[in-house]
Amino acid sequence: MTNIENLIISIVAIVVAPILGGLLTGLDRKIAARMQNRIGPPILQPFYDVFKLLGKEGITVNQTQMAYVLGYLLFAISALIMLVLRQDLLMLIFILTFSNICLIMGAMSVRSPYGKIGAQREIIQMMAYEPVLILMIVGVYLTTGSFLISSIFKFESPLLFNLPLVFLAFLFVLTIKLRKSPFDFSTSHHAHQELIKGLTTEYSGPQLALIEITHWYDLVLLLGMISLFFAKPIWVGILIAFVSYFLEIVVDNISARMTWKWMLRVTWLIAVGAAMTNIISLYMKK
């Protein structure tokens, strides 16, 4: 691929991803509302919200907050670019970690108890899901012999057939990564959070809008990673990604929030256990 081609793909991804992410978020809210017997907001509501936030006055709690928000956004975009340019999957995860750390630092930089405790919980959530993400990539390596995303597309059979348990483990941690119930400790989509809005309590106006946009990028990135499990033909993968997202919404609506201790135990036991089982069997087969 030439550089020009890469540039065009990146720009398309940067433009399309938030639109897609925003629409999916709108759908999420609509479906959730229907599950709760409400009519729900219009599908485009997330965009209305963000545009309104962008137009608000730039109130801040300290002068450095904006820098963290930008870090959160820019590194999330970098991770997405790495995905569409089919680069090293493991490095992608590390870049994504940096993005998330920026969000945490922003929340910790204020002297707000809600923001700080939200940040602590977010750190614990990272600790829970990161091993699974890395194990997923190891599974990809053991299957395709490479860490590059491009090799997944070159591989003849879908990853899902070789990595069924890893796929399930990934779905499990997706709930944590998307901060959905029962793992919405750090900040919640629903209005019953004892931490106000946790991690994002002290953000308002344009900063909050940027955080919302970053969430959309994250969502598209994660769904993109799901579709890697069925990269040939890719439309099946995308379909699987949408079905998975629907499952997430269902789980979000039928479960209550648990504690972080429970999350650590369950994630490390079940998700890591499942992923390791899969990886060890691949290793034995070699």
Binding site: T60, N62, F94, R111, A119, Q120, P131
Partner: protein
């Protein structure tokens, strides 16, 4: 001949400086000596870098036509050293120290009498691995000494000493550097043992420097644990001499040397054991944690370029000999286990220095783990991590020393709002911490390489996976605390002495340069070193386009990253911060929401609670002591680590 001169400077210049520092008790003269030696040592390291390229990456120095037998002299000095340790043991009333020293002296004495070596092998061998170590010792070491000039002045004024103990202090530091320079270049195992024991003794003297009860107690523990390693070293010398008929490190560490002789493998296992004690691997970690009582420059030196790096140097040096053997696999497990266990315990620590100590132990574990895996990628990762860890950790210790003298505490919780009190130090500290865990800095690149290298060993893999997750937790908690800002901070300019300021800036420049130039750094040193080993690997590591890349046997790229883009993003954010601070209108800065109306408190932590009482908010980090506390984990992790070490000896003897 040029080489001989450089080597003589590298070893004898610090020794001379040590004598000068001790004899001339004048602080201006001492500062002069330190600065001049620092510059001279750095130039020597550069000289080596220049010469080694002209010699195809390996310089061998023979010592013939010497007026007297240096081997005999070193043998004699061995016993002087051990006698001094015995004397120390008697003075401290510690029978254990005496017994351990005697247990080394007796076999060593018998060996020296029986051992008649006619064979000729180079006394010093300098290759790229030695060059890397020489650079760390001769550049980072002196920078820490420069820092110590300013630090010790404050330190002694806090202690209200009548006569300064600085002459003795700097003497020992210089002796330390001299013996480290010798240790990483010498090719005779018996001679290496001598320098190995000097570092043990020096660390004892430095840890006990303040002479209070705790310092003496911890120093004694460091002494006896390292003497255990010394015994293993002596045993290794005897066994290897029998098995291989040579004490040339070059020969015994040649690739696959251990495949054909179980006896040699046992010797190598003993050397690894010695390395574990020196590098404070579980279950020997307690001495390095106790070493925290020493003045901060000592910690910085022990943790970055000297002492603990001697242990990993020995293991990485001999790693090609046991590559692919069961011994290699078990060494990887010992290292991997230390990596994950130390990182887990670090989560529960609120004492900043202890967090740094556990982080050091953890990273040394990763280096040893990579050496045990022994493939080309793994050894490359090990050497890169030696470099990056030394620079970053050196910097961080100097930072925490400065912070401690600034705020009078080393507790992480006391560092809230540090940005306001010590902006200069805070920014450098944060960059140092980020360099330990986030992309695109070098330490993370090595973690990534370690993961990619360990996919063939599920047990090691799962340890590294969890270890890196824990690492992110304890660093990000700490960074968050440091970056906490009052909502209307007033900036003040810190008062720091010139020596502290200069050394912090130099090391910060080192951290940034090493990570930015990882490509050339790898290409010009480590790649040559790896090429000199004979490998049958599935994948190889190269440097190109400003990053490092992994290729498979068909030369397809299977992993890698260009780091420059991400540096640009970080740079953009860093420039953004001062701009934002300047641009934000004071009227737009509001106090945080505290579930009650805020008061006029500029810190923004006071609020009006029921009955108009003014309360202030206190938020602490999570330390998860129930999960990761030292009490919960130390015993069980020590037992598991001991089991791993027993398994290591099991696989080479049974």
């Amino acid at each position: 001949m040029e080489v001989n001169l450089l080597l003589a400077v590298a070893i004898f210049l610090p020794a001379l400086a040590a004598i000068l520092c001790y004899l001339v008790r004048n602080s201006a003269f001492r500062s002069f000596t330190i600065v001049i030696s620092a510059i001279a040592l750095a130039l020597t390291a550069l000289g080596f870098a220049d010469i080694i390229g002209k010699h195809d990456g390996k310089i061998e120095i023979y010592m013939e036509n010497m007026p007297f037998d240096i081997g005999l002299l070193i043998g004699f000095l061995d016993f002087v050293l051990l006698a001094y340790i015995v004397y120390t043991g008697v003075k401290l009333k510690k029978p254990l120290v005496v017994v351990l020293a005697v247990l080394q002296a007796v076999p060593l004495f018998i060996f020296e009498i029986m051992h008649k070596s006619e064979e000729q092998f180079p006394v010093f061998v300098i290759d790229y691995l030695s060059l890397i170590m020489l650079f760390l010792v001769s550049v980072i070491g002196p920078i820490i000494l420069v820092f110590a000039m300013g630090y010790m002045k404050n330190h002694e004024s806090h202690m209200h000493l009548k006569t300064s103990k600085q002459p003795r202090f700097f003497m020992i530091l210089f002796v330390f550097l001299a013996s480290m320079n010798a240790l990483v270049t010498v090719n005779n195992l018996l001679w290496m043992y001598f320098f190995w024991e000097i570092t043990t003794l020096c660390s004892f003297l430095l840890i006990s420097h303040d002479k209070n009860a705790e310092a003496v107690k911890n120093a004694t523990r460091a002494l006896w644990i390292n003497l255990l390693g010394g015994i293993a070293f002596v045993a290794a010398i005897i066994i290897i001499s029998n098995a291989a008929g040579t004490l040339s490190i070059q020969d015994i560490s040649s690739p696959n040397a251990g495949l054909f002789s179980t006896e040699l493998l046992l010797g190598l296992a003993l050397l690894c054991f010695a390395g574990f004690t020196k590098s404070a691997q579980f279950p020997f970690q307690s001495w390095l944690l106790g070493a925290m009582v020493a003045p901060t420059p000592v910690s910085a030196l022990l943790h970055s370029s000297t002492m603990v790096k001697a242990g990993v140097y020995l293991i990485v040096r001999t790693a090609p000999a046991f590559y692919g053997t069961t011994l290699g696999n078990v060494v990887a497990m010992v290292g991997g286990f230390t990596f994950v266990a130390a990182a887990a315990i670090a989560i529960s620590q609120s004492n900043g220095k202890r967090v740094l100590a556990y982080s050091t132990i953890s990273n040394l574990g990763l280096i040893i783990c990579c050496a045990g895996i022994g493939s080309q990628i793994a050894l490359g990762a090990a050497m890169l991590l030696i470099i990056f860890h030394a620079i970053s950790k050196g910097l961080l210790f100097l930072c925490i020393g400065t912070i401690e003298q600034g705020i009078g505490s080393r507790d992480i919780e006391d560092m809230q709002g540090l940005m306001k009190l010590m902006p200069f130090t805070t920014i450098i500290t944060v960059i140092g911490m980020i360099s330990m865990l986030l992309p695109p800095f070098g330490v993370l690149i090595t973690k990534w390489l370690a993961l990619e290298a360990s996919v063939g060993q599920p047990v090691v893999l799962i340890m590294i996976v969890f270890g890196s997750a824990f690492t992110v937790v304890f660093w990000s908690k700490w960074i968050g605390i440091i970056l906490t800002m009052s909502y209307k901070p007033k900036y003040i300019v810190e008062k720091l002495s010139v020596s502290i300021r200069i050394s912090l800036i130099l090391l910060l420049a080192g951290v940034l340069a090493a990570s930015l130039l990882i490509g050339p750094l790898f290409k010009n040193t480590i790649e040559h070193q790896l090429d000199s080993y004979w490998f049958m690997d599935e994948s190889i590591l190269t440097a190109d386009r400003g990053g490092v890349w992994i290729h498979d046997i068909y030369n397809n790229t299977i992993g890698g990253v260009e780091s420059i883009l991400f540096f640009l993003i970080i740079l953009a954010i860093m420039i953004m911060i001062p701009y934002l601070i300047h641009k934000t209108k004071p009227a737009n800065v509001k106090p945080p929401y505290l579930c009650g109306s805020n008061t006029d408190d500029p810190r923004g932590i006071e609020f009006i609670s029921p009955k108009d009482k003014i309360d202030s908010v206190v938020v602490h980090n999570y330390y998860m002591k129930g999960f990761f506390g030292e009490k919960n984990l130390t015993l069980i992790t020590n037992l598991i680590a001991t089991a791993f070490i027993l398994i290591m000896f099991g696989v080479v003897t049974l």
